[in-house]
Symmetry: C2
Subunit: 97 residues, 2 copies
Amino acid sequence: MGPRMLKHNTYFEGGVQSVGFERNGSRATVGVVDTGEYRFGTDAAERMTVVSGELWVRYGDDADWVRYPSGATFEVAAKSHFHVRASSPAAYLCVFL
Amino acid sequence: MGPRMLKHNTYFEGGVQSVGFERNGSRATVGVVDTGEYRFGTDAAERMTVVSGELWVRYGDDADWVRYPSGATFEVAAKSHFHVRASSPAAYLCVFL
């Protein structure tokens, strides 16, 4: 076996944490958004799937909040940003497109 | 907001890593199993769901391996152990019962 490829990521003083991995050349993370509101910038486009709990997302600073329950998926464009809000900790899968 | 409740866990020299959280008094983790084979002991019973990739599991040292593709769920009894095998990194959600 080669070197371990898993990577722990932490953002917003630990309010969002994830474990990154790669499979078949595709990058992804699974992580948790703790209670709170966060603004994320994207480099690559990404597809987010809520795995546990629910997330509220808005795609612009003045846009409406959209609710994504467990199982729901949304995509975010490259070189953009979005806001995420959780009223209790929620887990997600993020696949970079 | 209170102190951050997310916790990074690392096992098997980083071969399995997760982020732990709690919601409504229920504990859970999301994490990744890197390529390899691992033996886990349980304290509480747990329900595992494969979130990305696939895991092979056997419940005893001589039992057959069972394949769990993405979306599949299995439960493990308290105070027991099980073996997990991944041929490429796989993500999971673990809920403690």
